[in-house]
């Protein structure tokens, strides 16, 4: 069954069953990624964005478990596949670029070995073919003297270089979807810019769909067509980038955007979002953002969980300011 979208996630729920209680890291998340589309997944630490990404590839470690939902990739539900089938999808159809390049590579094998291993497994290349392709890939991601670097161990490379290698590995088998989990957070500013430019260029050249996980709206603006905003395991707003950045609807999104220091704001105070991130085991009742929201309506926002509604075409929000729950009555 050919589907319109590359990836469709319905009501994904991933919980962590710890000794202290159940953490609802992803609590009913639904969104789609189309072919050749670039989606940004935004939220603060603990919002569940990374967990969502790893859930797609079913790489959730104990004590976490995906307990509900459907994830359709090219029409097939990934959650119903066997583990063996999943290993064919990981790295080949869907790849993830991890957050920390310093620890992503195995220190006791050369980077060449680590690229070749993927190529041989997924594309069934011969050793020689794999080596040639690996060197090609290293050149593609902008690593100088690729021929010699092939034989080097990861500890010889800088963070930026390692991230390029990781990207090379991720793209080595031509995936249809590339997920980047905060790929530049652990890099210095200059390298950040380089990596982002590289990603943009590769995107253009190869044309795969991308899912960018970040808390940085600058990256979103540069690289994403669609943005999904998450808070405490739920999606609170989703729209195309331009609309979201120019007319954010959800109070959380607005607050996030206000946090960003702008050129005009020199001399003014920074505006952090007041309050504390929600307790993952006992989140606030009703709308999880209500304790920190300056627009919160008593008796409504703290009691009733808002549903996602399409307020303007293509722009979805979960907030009582935009639905018709006023005066305690739900009017659809």
């Amino acid at each position: 069954m050919e589907s319109q979208n590359l990836l469709e996630i319905y009501n994904l729920k991933t919980y962590f069953f710890t000794r202290r209680g159940v953490i609802r890291a992803v609590d009913g998340v639904t969104f789609k990624i189309g072919h050749h589309e670039n989606v940004g997944l935004v939220g603060e630490s603990g919002s569940g964005k990374s967990v969502t990404a790893y859930s797609i590839l079913r790489l959730i470690d104990y004590p976490g478990r995906i307990i509900d939902g459907k994830i359709y990739y090219k029409g097939e539900n990934l959650l119903e596949k066997s583990l063996k089938e999943m290993t064919m999808i990981r790295g080949k159809e869907i790849s993830i670029v991890m957050q920390d390049p310093m620890t992503a590579l195995n220190p006791v094998y050369t980077i060449g070995q680590q690229i070749v291993e993927t190529l041989i497994k997924h594309l069934k290349l011969s050793k020689k073919e794999a080596k040639d392709r690996a060197i090609q890939l290293l050149e593609m991601v902008g690593i100088p003297s690729a021929e010699t670097r092939f034989y080097e161990y990861p500890h010889k490379l800088s963070g930026g270089m390692r991230q390029r290698v990781v990207i090379a590995i991720a793209l080595s088998c031509n995936p249809s979807l590339l997920i980047a989990d905060e790929p530049t957070t652990n890099l210095d500013v200059t390298t950040q810019a380089e990596i982002l430019n590289l990603l943009q260029e590769l995107k253009r050249k190869i044309g795969m769909s991308t899912l960018f996980i970040t808390h940085n709206f600058g990256i979103v603006a540069q690289l994403c067509d669609e943005v999904v905003v998450m808070y405490a395991g739920n999606i609170v707003e989703q729209s195309d980038t331009i609309s979201l950045l120019s007319e954010p609807l959800h109070p959380y999104t607005k607050a996030l955007l206000e946090c960003i220091p702008k050129k005009e704001s020199t001399g003014k105070r920074l505006n952090p979002i007041p309050g504390m991130p929600p307790n993952p085991i006992q989140p606030p009742s009703g709308c999880k953002f209500h304790p920190r929201c300056k627009y919160a309506i008593k008796e409504i926002c703290d009691k009733i969980t808002p549903q996602l509604l399409e307020v303007t075409p293509g722009h979805i929000v979960a907030c009582h300011l935009y639905d018709n729950i006023r005066g305690g009555e739900v009017v659809s």
Binding site: L57, L59, D61, Y62, L83, K84, T87, M88, I89, R90, G91, K92, S95, I96, M98, D100, T103, A104, L105, N106, P107, V108, Y109, E117, T118, K121, H122, Y153, H155, K156, V166, I169
Partner: protein, 315 residues
């Protein structure tokens, strides 16, 4: 890497030098007159004592004594045992094989137990099997080795009569008999040692299994088997080399008591006899040899480590 090895060697030699100082000063830290302490049991005649004092150079200034002693050591002369009337070095070399076999046997049993149990525990932390593994480790650490030895002798030698409780037969000369004598002592030390080592293996494995690069290997779509045996194992094995070094130290200490229980003619027992009979030349010699042995084992481990870990090898 060469630089690393050389610096380890130099550092080790300096330590060894200080150890000789310490060992030498044992004799001179004794309260009272060393000569009287050593020979007082056989000689009461003051003239004889003076003669002995001169013979062994105790009437010379301390630093001269030390230099003499050091030069003697370096030329292989570790002095002569007062009680056995034989060169210390000869006595030690005669007994070295027994202790080496004991250490080998114990280490093998320890690794045979602790590596599987440690891996089993690490594969699912905080699960039932993990608690079982850790309970075993706890018991191992808390058990007095010599008591375990005695209990094993009670059951297997005295009641069941299937294994000998006493003596050593070199497995190279007579394999079956040798292994029989080696069994109980090795199990005794091995099981107790396994307690400590299991915990180390477990924590090393956990660190590896939950590392980012293992996650990345899975992300790439590698099969679980490849992930475990190719990616995880090599990383986890490297620290195990250091474990062998640590084990040796513990075993060398434990051997002293265990050799006593099993009538094992090794260096440990020799040291004890020396201490009991106040045979201080023997005490000096044996402790020095022990320290050198330990030093050599650690040095070898360091060098092997430098070879295996690419981060050091390609420095």
């Amino acid at each position: 890497m060469l630089r690393h090895i050389i610096s380890t060697l130099i550092s080790g030699c300096i330590n060894l030098f200080f150890i000789t100082l310490i060992v030498f000063s044992i004799l001179h830290l004794l309260p009272g007159d060393p000569i009287v302490i050593m020979f007082g049991m056989w000689e009461q005649n003051p003239q004889q004592i003076e003669f002995l004092r001169h013979k062994y150079g105790f009437d010379q200034p301390i630093y001269i004594q030390y230099l003499n002693w050091l030069t003697q050591i370096l030329s292989g002369n570790f002095g002569e045992s007062i009680r056995y009337k034989e060169p210390v070095l000869k006595l030690i070399l005669e007994r070295l094989p027994a202790t080496l076999w004991l250490i080998l046997g114990s280490m093998m049993i320890s690794l045979l137990i602790s590596i599987p149990v440690g891996i089993m525990s690490a594969s699912k932390p905080h699960s039932k099997r993990d608690y079982l593994g850790m309970l075993f480790a706890l018991f191992g650490i808390s058990t007095p080795a010599f008591w375990l030895g005695i209990m094993l002798i009670l059951v297997f030698s005295l009641y069941l009569r299937i294994l000998p409780a006493y003596g050593f037969v070199n497995p190279l000369e007579s394999p079956i008999e040798g292994l029989k004598t080696l069994t109980l002592p090795s199990i005794t030390l091995g099981v107790v040692l396994a307690g400590t080592v299991t915990r180390t293996v477990r924590s090393n494995m956990i660190e590896v299994l939950y590392s980012d690069y293992i996650k990345f290997a899975r992300l790439k779509g590698m099969s679980e088997r490849t992930v475990l045996y190719k990616h995880a194992l090599k990383n986890a094995l490297i620290p195990i080399i250091t474990i062998v070094g640590i084990q040796t130290g513990i075993l060398l200490g434990g051997a002293v008591v265990i050799e006593q229980i099993f009538g094992w003619p090794g260096i440990g027992r020799l040291i004890l006899q020396a201490v009991y009979t106040r045979d201080y030349f023997l005490v000096q010699g044996t402790i020095l040899i022990y320290a050198i042995l330990f030093f050599l084992v650690n040095l070898t481990m360091d060098i092997i480590y430098a070879f295996i870990d690419p981060r050091i090898r390609y420095e």
